[in-house]
Subunit: 336 residues, 2 copies
């Protein structure tokens, strides 16, 4: 480690996070499951294939247009499980509450969690609540862990992208990141946008139904689309070519990014997925996605190539091309 | 809810915690698994029986004699799974780190976690790390969730205690609570004590090997032995009689409690279990416990009775008896 203290960067989801995990944490926890570095881990109980995932949510503010920390915590862990092609079944919920939190706010969060769990068809089966004195935490942190069932034959992974694959995004990018940032800073924009927080497991099932051979699925959360695609490029040892023109961005989100000097490629999404799909199946996967509200703006944004393994290139609107690296700094702490 | 804000009491593990869960949280998450209110929940994946458990650790200070927040987080969740008679297999770990935490401290915690996981024979298979700005959390919080395998025929539960059962404790009480409190307050005592943080799953297996018909197992953590026995009395609808003289307490712990005006019955343990065992099997269970370091001070401290269901009575050293209620206030926030 280059530093002697934890920095905000270490929680960015980008390069520094990756280094903290690989240079420090993995030194002490060595097993093939953890070393996969997937959104959720495949485990075997006897011959039964399950996936197991965990995420803590520390978003600030806790309420924002389009959602709150509660539904975010349900949807985020549901999505991590779904990105392996597993069917999310059971969630645990761990609350860390700050003394003085309004019960009414906590109740609003619980209501959103219950609704999100119902929509995603998962059960919250076990929980824990801790309270810390005023000032020892900021309002509320939530951990959700989840168990999913992995049906026979499914082997979707960030390690499985192949040259020739189409890269599909399920909708517009950067909505969540821009929404949380502008809320936190109290910025007023004439445009309107909201977090895209939503569960993607039903969308994934619809995609797998028409194409059991999807290679990779990831939800581009912390670190944004750029970081997620870099992870796939590294894990699968392939190159990725993106077409800037093809990447869907809400007009108002784009305007806000320009004003704030932020690159939407690095902003978090909480209800979007990226899929690497064999080219010959692209059309039917897109057709299946259009049939669901979570996928109605799905489109192809690039393709997997054999050249430049581990790298992501963006072909710009004016025809040039530039290397898109993993997120390096931390523009947005506590985004999720 | 009587209050409009979250109080420290709500995290005590005692009466107020129970009310927060039953009056607020369970209103929104209704399913038979969660409503069991056990340390870990039984879930079915097809016909496969698993247990699932979660706990967040917020102990202050993060280092204390006998352990730190890291091994506590491993042992605590291992124990919650073991208390159902399940075999703990897989853990997730979610870190919430405060910006500025010393990497050296984080590494010490990781080392302890790895050692604790090895001792308990569990694998950390998935994880998550969030960083929040300085002041938004206190150094480090850890969530661990765990999956255990429940062998056929095992049905140990806080609901299954029966009149006639012996109540066994695996060793001295209040060690963890007194250690953390005196450390935090910077109190100097001439005596010596340390946290009892340890995994109990191997002890549980040794007990089940000689007595498959153990009725209830619980680890008396937050809220202490008094609160745990009240939970068993309520859930099993039985009375409990304790013998004050029989409850093992380290001399120095007892002296510290007297000086500080604390009742050891309400102080947390992090490496002890309480068992309700059919009277005829008591001797062989104790013999099996003596054979393991975690159980070498095991003893019978009382018995389950049919009278006064839901109540716990303590027969005092001088022959009187007093009602021992669940923890009502919060003498010790952030004990685990």
């Amino acid at each position: 480690m280059k530093n002697d203290r934890i920095l905000l960067d270490h929680g960015s989801g980008g390069r520094a996070s990756q280094q903290l995990v690989s240079d420090l944490i993995l030194r002490y926890f060595t097993n093939t499951s953890l070393a996969q570095l997937e959104d959720s881990t495949e485990i075997y109980v006897d011959w039964y294939r399950l996936t197991f995932s965990t995420d803590s949510y520390v978003v600030d503010p806790i309420f924002f247009p389009g959602g709150n920390i509660g539904d975010l915590a349900i949807n985020g862990t549901v999505n991590d499980i779904a990105m392996r092609g597993a069917i999310p079944k059971f969630l645990s919920v761990g609350f860390i509450l700050e003394e003085g939190l309004l019960i009414a706010d906590f109740e609003k969060i619980l209501v959103s969690m219950a609704m999100a769990a119902r929509k995603a068809n998962v059960q919250v089966v076990t929980g824990d609540t801790k309270v810390v004195p005023r000032g020892a935490a900021d309002k509320i942190f939530i951990n959700t862990s989840g168990i999913g069932v992995l049906l026979d034959g499914r082997k979707i992974s960030g390690h499985n992208a192949l040259p020739g694959d189409s890269i599909i995004i399920s909708g517009t990018i950067a909505d969540h990141g821009v929404t949380v940032l502008t809320q936190r800073e109290g910025l007023e924009f004439s445009g309107s946008f909201a977090s895209d927080s939503q569960a993607l497991n039903h969308l994934v099932e619809a995609m797998i139904a028409v194409c059991p051979d999807i290679h990779s699925l990831r939800d581009p959360t912390r670190g944004g689309l750029a970081t997620t695609l870099n992870e796939i490029a590294e894990q699968s040892n392939v190159g990725i070519q993106l077409h800037e023109d093809a990447i869907p961005i809400n007009q108002d989100v784009r305007a806000a990014c320009e004003l704030l000097g932020l690159d939407p490629l690095y902003l978090a999404n909480e209800g979007k997925l990226v899929a690497c799909v064999p080219a010959e199946h692209t059309k039917k996967v897109l057709a299946a996605m259009y049939n669901r509200p979570e996928g109605k703006h799905a489109c192809v944004i690039g393709n997997v190539v054999a050249d430049d393994p581990g790298k992501v290139w963006l072909v710009t609107a004016i025809g040039g091309s530039r290397l898109v690296d993993m997120l390096a700094g931390e523009p947005l702490p506590r985004i999720c």
